[in-house]
Symmetry: C2
Subunit: 207 residues, 2 copies
DNA sequence: TTGCCTACCTACCAGTAGGTAGTGGGTTAA
DNA sequence: TTAACCCACTACCTACTGGTAGGTAGGCAA
């Protein structure tokens, strides 16, 4: 019937595990998540989970890899769109903001990984993003040199922007308490997006 | 002699534990830190540590309380200084930036707590900061209404600023890899501080 | 039928977690 | 001297961790 064939149900279970692992690692961190938690969320036992992934570390690695590749894909797509000046920056900003709004768990895992200093993986988070970072620095500096953007330290500007964007999603429960409203509801997310865009526009463009 | 009296040496051990616990919780998180780690760092066994603190949770609570009270103290002091307009904002910004530069472990714990949604404590992080947040919102809005500051959403502006400031410290290892330099050395920290100040000034003041 | 495969299971391993009970040395004070 | 207290210790508990061993049910191909 619908899932009689073994390859189909196989992929499905594997993906269910990846989804649940993403949720758990984002929610409770690497150390705070047990394989039992993940397995229970999928409805199987731990050994069955370990049939699909050789170890906890490997599972975490796969979750993280999927996350990074999706992010880089979006970045690539945004950069490929022909545009210049502020419009270009806005395109990239929106690409990130959209992805993070769709999957805030990505943000939470990334933050945890940055906090932990990349202990759980061989992967070097900053190394993967480095090409984009360098390209962005070059772009910003050229715009500043042409007088299009306000003169600022491009590297620090990017790090500041990274923090400004991600924090809203990663610290959503904390934000909830500050604004007395669900940070992750549609309206608030849209407000955050427009605020970030407007804020950077105000800082970078002398009106 | 210098530490012969029992209350003094008691306090000393207690403080050593608090210091080591701060370091460990900041470095590896609540789940990733064992009482053995902390005890070993102080040079005692776990049961001896539990003689000074009734439980891991209580120890964590004390660490966090010390942290928050120090932060609030700094904020109070900064707010008390008579100033207005941009100068006032800069005073508060610098007070936070200075504290975080002195004790980056504070920042890392706060971020972890925000990420975990305050699971490890009864304390509600956003509740404690709420009075300052509300006061800051009021101040910013009054400045915007007077045309001193650019018109922006004050709440989102504060959250953005919070993220922009803290991220540099909390994600220092990640930043290292991006800028190819030790993010926590004196010069880079100073650069970050001046960048944040300059960035907010550029966004808030129409020049 | 036979044999191999996948996907799951129960049962178990060694190791470590947080926490408790009870011991004993050292200092202090009566 | 004796009694008290403080503080650190060893030894132990239960619960749970990641991971493994071995077994089983069902699908599929020769």
């Amino acid at each position: 019937m619908s899932e009689a064939t073994s390859p189909e149900s196989n992929r499905s279970t594997r993906d269910q595990i990846l989804d649940e692992a993403l949720r758990c690692f984002a929610e409770k961190g690497y150390e705070g998540t047990s394989l039992n938690d993940i397995a229970a969320g999928v409805g199987i036992r731990r050994p069955s989970l370990l049939h699909h992934f050789p170890s906890k570390e490997a599972l975490y690695g796969d979750v993280f890899e999927r996350l990074m590749s999706e992010w880089l894909e979006r970045l690539d797509a945004a950069v490929a769109v022909p545009a210049s000046g502020w419009d270009k920056s806005e395109l990239v900003l929106r690409a990130c903001l959209d992805l993070f709004a769709e999957t805030p768990d990505y943000v939470r895992i990334m933050r945890r990984e940055a906090l932990d200093g990349g202990v759980h993986l061989g992967i070097d988070l900053s190394g993967v993003l480095r090409p984009f970072f360098d390209a962005a620095v070059q772009y910003l500096e050229s715009q500043m040199a042409q007088g299009v953007f306000t003169q600022l330290d491009a590297r620090h500007l990017l790090i500041t922007g990274y923090g400004a964007i991600l924090t809203y999603f990663s610290d959503a429960p904390f934000v909830d308490g500050l604004i007395d409203s669900d940070a992750m509801n549609e309206k608030n997310i849209r407000d955050h997006q427009e605020h970030v865009i407007g804020f950077f526009k105000a800082a970078l463009l002398k009106s």
